[in-house]
Symmetry: C2
Subunit: 87 residues, 2 copies
């Protein structure tokens, strides 16, 4: 079992109204000194069996085709934990 | 300038229909071997000035009060990059 995380964020040049809303709410709650907020998505995928480079490439394909919209979003894939065969 | 990331995920015992929908779509797209998918949120906060432990505590408060619902969600705070004073 391995847990692979896919982070999907809007590209920097794309307006992020959710992040803007959070940013606007901060001073009202008494928090100063935050110059920007961006909101994105985080997916945790539990993979069966061993994590091979072929499996990781498959996760990249999943991220590109299903989890993100490559026109407006960037994604990053990273392995979070690797149960059963601790490194 | 420092970038702090807050990951917000539904607690494990809370049903995640978005993750379930993604999981259900995978075999239809030809991807096998994924035993589970959970979907959550990722916030990137740009902080002005230096990142002190007091600022980090403030981000924890922001995560708890504004970015997550502690009844159904867990959050994790981590520092992604630290421009100006590379560690």
């Amino acid at each position: 079992m391995a847990r692979v995380v896919v982070d999907v964020m809007l590209k920097p040049e794309i307006l992020d109204p959710q992040g803007k809303a959070v940013h606007g709410a901060l001073p009202r709650l008494g928090f100063e000194g935050v110059s920007g907020v961006r909101q994105g998505k985080r997916f945790e995928l539990e993979l069966e069996g061993e994590l091979t480079s072929a499996r990781l490439a498959e996760v990249h394909a999943i991220a590109e085709k299903l989890l993100s919209n490559p026109v407006i979003e960037d994604f990053a894939v990273h392995v979070e934990e690797h149960e059963g065969s601790p490194a």
